[in-house]
């Protein structure tokens, strides 16, 4: 899988996610999410930073927790910012 190195030399995964946005929107802490899906809170941090690509099982558990389809939470391409989706430019194209 394609990936590049992060600041601390870790191999970044090619999996992008919206976990920080979803957590902030629903007021869920890393610890709460970690407990709900059965992992260490640090692991949620690693997933959010893109330093760790979750297994299919963990990804599905996270999606079940947020009651969202997997493509709404994880993607192989970077997500378009929510502001661009909510407020498209005059031409109708996202910024």
């Amino acid at each position: 899988m394609a990936g590049n190195d992060s600041k601390d030399g870790r191999r970044r995964t090619g999996v992008h996610n919206r976990l920080p946005v979803l957590r902030a929107e629903r007021g869920v802490s890393r610890s709460e999410l970690a407990q709900a899906v059965g992992v260490n809170a640090q692991t949620i941090g690693f997933v959010e930073r893109g330093d760790y690509g979750p297994s299919l099982e963990l990804a599905l558990r996270i999606c079940a927790y947020f009651e969202l389809p997997i493509e709404a939470v994880f993607s192989l391409a970077p997500f378009v910012p929510m502001s661009a989706q909510l407020y498209p430019t005059r031409s109708g194209e996202p910024t």
């Binding site: 601390d8 640090q42 692991t43 690693f46 760790y52 099982e57």
Partner: protein, 180 residues
Amino acid sequence: MSTENRAARMSRLVADKDARVQDHRQRPLPAWLAGRGTRRAIAVLPVLPLAGGLVAGTMADSLARTTVMVVVVTLCVGLLLLLRQASRMLDAVPDRMLDEREVGERDNAHRRAHALTVGLLTVLVLVAIADGVMRKTGGSSLIDGDGWINVTLTAMLVGAMMPAAVLTWRGSEPLDDLDG
């Protein structure tokens, strides 16, 4: 005591122990251990007992050699404890206490530690061959017969430290905004 009671008591004891260890693992690292530079400096410290073991191997059988070996073994035990603290005991706790990322990190560290240990043993084998050749041709030797016991004992102790050292070297910065 019935078998059922004993089994229930055992499982309760194991659960209590797991909870205590997990609680210890979740605590933030002390400030002096949290920096990447410090952790990497600690990760290379096993070189010290290794050098001490080699020096002890070259010494004549005496009180001085025994003293050096006592220092080496004490240093190894202390270093192993320090490395395990720095790596949050990732190489020491059972699978049931680790999540999928931690299991992956631990396995990766074991793979690298195995390669390093094989490298160390290869160097020792080459030294042993050179030692044998010198003994046969010149009569002198690098390491006395008994000295190999010290060298191999040190190599074994350093090999036991290797997974924790690799985990300490590769450990990433702790997240300070855990609830962010």
